[in-house]
Symmetry: C2
Subunit: 394 residues, 2 copies
Amino acid sequence: MDSIFSDRIADVPRSFIREILKVSLDPTIISFAGGLPNREFFPVAELKTATAKVFDTMGRDVLQYSMSEGFTGLREMIARRYHDRQNLDIPVENILITNGSQQGLDLMGKTFINEGDDIVIEEPAYLGAIQAFSLFKPRFNPVKLTEEGLDIRQFKSVMSARKPKLIYSVPNFQNPSGISFSERTRREMAGIIEGTSTLLIEDDPYGDLRYSGTDKPSFMAILPKNTILFGSFSKTISPGLRIGWIVAPHDIMEKLIVAKQAADLHTTHFTQCILWQYMRDNDIDAHIRKIKECYGRQMQAMLNSIEKYFPQGVSHTTPEGGMFLWVTLPEGTSSRDLLDRALKDKVIFVPGDPFYVNRQNTNTLRLNFSCTDEPTIDTGIRNLGKAMKQLLKK
Amino acid sequence: MDSIFSDRIADVPRSFIREILKVSLDPTIISFAGGLPNREFFPVAELKTATAKVFDTMGRDVLQYSMSEGFTGLREMIARRYHDRQNLDIPVENILITNGSQQGLDLMGKTFINEGDDIVIEEPAYLGAIQAFSLFKPRFNPVKLTEEGLDIRQFKSVMSARKPKLIYSVPNFQNPSGISFSERTRREMAGIIEGTSTLLIEDDPYGDLRYSGTDKPSFMAILPKNTILFGSFSKTISPGLRIGWIVAPHDIMEKLIVAKQAADLHTTHFTQCILWQYMRDNDIDAHIRKIKECYGRQMQAMLNSIEKYFPQGVSHTTPEGGMFLWVTLPEGTSSRDLLDRALKDKVIFVPGDPFYVNRQNTNTLRLNFSCTDEPTIDTGIRNLGKAMKQLLKK
């Protein structure tokens, strides 16, 4: 039967997470499934004040069509933050504002991927990246994540066998695994990539959310010629404003702007100006410290409860930041079966499957700790541990 | 030389208009080049009030991640307007909110176009559609516009020879030509399309802006099975908020939502709620009447000045609405040459070239009348007439 649809749309995995999130609307269910920042930290009053100011000072401008590159004031602020926090000198012209990082993935796919092109992703990988890239029909080369980052031996062999066009990586507090790349892994990867024409997309939405350990150098610092850096305000200020950005060199930026124009002309000028005004009038670092203090506590609570309640043979990552940790059940166990059981005990999570390309009934799962308070975390993890024990007994 | 970029990005025409708009920043230049709505009509105070209410009543919700389909309240309002104004019954589930209509084009390209697929566009066509579709490497089949709409004979022959997957059309006050399709052309087209698997994208950003004549039935009314309808608030309330929508049947909507998720997860919930609140608290039809009264007057002023100043042999369309009219110079004359001359007389417009696929040095040009007051229109058209006379004398 001939389909009226394009071949590419058939290749995009359905969002399994969407389905799970529907279940999580039931208020009696404890959800570790979401990927949402905690809404208690949205600076509603401050954004309201900033918005009123924007209307008063730039009313007509922010309601008109605007530049595809994004609002210069906001791009200058982003550049300044890179300078102040990471000692990175990024020209404003090298920053393109996007509708969250998700759009950055789409623009990169459009600009670089021909059908069948090799790209490297992490295993497990951020689901939204698999979805976005799938539309351009690349050949995915998943490289295993260890607690130190990409498995260097496997990475080296894929690089030499495939000469991939793109590598997609979330080196800080990765979604879904919570893993951060060690400095050694970063430098080894940089050494392997340097001098090739492979581009590395360094997606860094969680970089600001570190609860322990020390910052590692970004790929933009140690491998500037091959790195395209993504950032976002979604995890620190508000995801609903849909503001992220891409840092790329001039020749690539030119093409990305063409792709951005074709995609939606430009990101809402209005919301960019609100963020800019908010950051002018408020101490965003003080705001981020509050978030970190809370998420860090909740992560620790989850780790403590896991130690108490999870059975032998179940392992997990120990993140230094971000919003997630990653659990591995004994070989041969399916986390989907666990979900069926856990649902009866009113606790849910995201099974590992959607974070892999073409793998099913995996024995892994993602737990989110940003949206649940400590007593609820303890109850939820206890119930999940109970479900695990039942599953493993069988 | 091997390019690191995808093949598709090389096929996207650069936006010539962007370049011209840079010139138009010079305040001594009279610009008929823009495609912008008149900023004087942005309801700044009302939107400010609506926004404050949104913060007070839905603050945390609008700042969180949200549904890919868009805000239900706004979609209900759009459905109600179709019912009230056009007697169209559109289920809310068949409406997807996009970042302006431009994103609708991108999602349609993603969802339907395989490389080499035949698509029909108008000649001249909306530049943004050529850009958006180009990324998916279709074969464009331009069909000439007459004052009645698509040239039916040519359309019929393309339909039977190519069996195109998509037709892209702006039947009301088209950009760039200002032409509206007669009811007869619409019904003839519907008769030719009906029973085929060809889909017609009915893009209707200007439909509300009629200054004379009577509304014609939409394709959604006379060809519902084959029509996908686009709408937008950009020309009536504010383009900067970047809110448009797609109306499509259930099976297509499912795929479009997957494409929307991959593109940017969802359109800003915040701006959708602002529009919803604004439309609840204000009479949008009274607002649109004010815009129509002004644009209609300015269009008439432009037509009057054209009669006075343009030389023999130069023809033009006589729109019944929208923001543009279309001028044709004598055969063998280039509107780019005219632009060089007109720049010296401090008046600019968009030459026809970018509105065609693969045609250069065309003898056509687009004039915008929404952003210039009547005395300035008279001065600008007088200077443009002078430049035409010099060009034709040569």
